[in-house]
Symmetry: none
Subunit: 257 residues, 2 copies
Amino acid sequence: MKIATFNANSIRSRLPMLLQWLEDHQPDILGIQETKCQDEDFPLEAIRDAGFHVAFKGEKSYNGVALICKSEPQEVRFGFDDGGPADETRLIRAVVDGVSVVNTYVPQGRAIDHVMYKYKLGWYRRLKKMFEAEYSPDQPLAWIGDINIAVEPIDVNNPAGKKNDPCYHIDAHNAFLDVCSFGFTDLLRKHHPDEEIYSFFDYRVKNAVERNMGWRIDYVLTTASLTEKSLACDVDLEPRKMEKPSDHTFVVAEFEG
Amino acid sequence: MKIATFNANSIRSRLPMLLQWLEDHQPDILGIQETKCQDEDFPLEAIRDAGFHVAFKGEKSYNGVALICKSEPQEVRFGFDDGGPADETRLIRAVVDGVSVVNTYVPQGRAIDHVMYKYKLGWYRRLKKMFEAEYSPDQPLAWIGDINIAVEPIDVNNPAGKKNDPCYHIDAHNAFLDVCSFGFTDLLRKHHPDEEIYSFFDYRVKNAVERNMGWRIDYVLTTASLTEKSLACDVDLEPRKMEKPSDHTFVVAEFEG
DNA sequence: GTCATTGGCG
DNA sequence: CGCCAATGAC
């Protein structure tokens, strides 16, 4: 079984390469973030024609999430249900082949003194409550997506210079680690304890991929039963090197069975 | 000798295909219209590297003309010099290998009840005066470019429906024919008296090229001494069929010697 | 439909 | 740098 995540930065702009990637890698579950399109513009047919089911919710210009699956996703739900902003275009959940999947596009936060950063930290608290209320660490559960946090120094180029970045600030680290305490393991780090592997490279940094100047902010996190079956987890850098890439690339985890 | 014209609809967007076309066809003179770029952004070096001289004048977003030549163009001039609007980015003249060349991007006219249509008709009158004042029908002279008029019913798909189009209206026909009375021969029509051959296909018409639903609004017109040497004149439809084409394509005339 | 523009965003 | 949006031209 293969579970992957990809921030597409516009699924319409990335459709040709996405279809190629689906054909080449045949993931069982692929979570997409930043589809950046309204539901009526979503390239549903092309993805179905490639042999996949898909559930999605988007809006004009911003956000937008999708789950692309070999099997039909069950119990598809969008957003929070806790009385706060639902953020339905940032959170999609489903059950696929008996595995619960939560695909998130966590708010980036803008700046640590910005109201959106407070919102981001709150988003992690709400996420933890959701996991506690609706899931168990004993069940097969995968949390995937663009979580907009690099956790350890090894997860970002020049960590010392990023202390006040909303994606590397200490409060963000703690917020993320608190959700992980529910029972999640970061699969890429499990399989690559010491490697500077990044999943996002800012367009504005020249030759960022070649110079390996990026961030690891896209994750596949799993509870124990899945973690035990995990065989590998890697970033696929090839799509980031192609023509007209997303600024993010794919993180792919492979499991027994 | 080969003289050609091409409305590029952005020379920067069309640069790869233009360079390929230059390499393949090696024109002696190619007039470009709608370069749509300021002079500092003009892809001068790429064209020189392909083995051509080039003279050009453009502006941001709109208009822009160029002459791309095997030999260095002499006596290069831009625009009218009659006291009216010079329109320097719509008219370029030069002498190349002893042949006088006038490359025009005539105003489209918007609509027959629009002030720009009056301006277009006036433009043709100014053009005739320029030919009369500065050229002779006895000299080798080529008037090339996007003239934004289809002259005969055969020059446009569904002529009956185009009577009120600023590119097919009777006043436009007369304005154009009056300039031709200076001594110009329409070379494509000379070599193809009965064929529905078009040089422009609206992007908005689906499969316009395959259905041959277009306009002939790009011309190579010559005075007698050149007309006598003319061996062929054709529209090259291939560039219009490629990826990301201009809405216009090349008209190419071949001459003895 | 395909250019170009400006402006917002990350 | 490369998405998005809106607008204008043809």
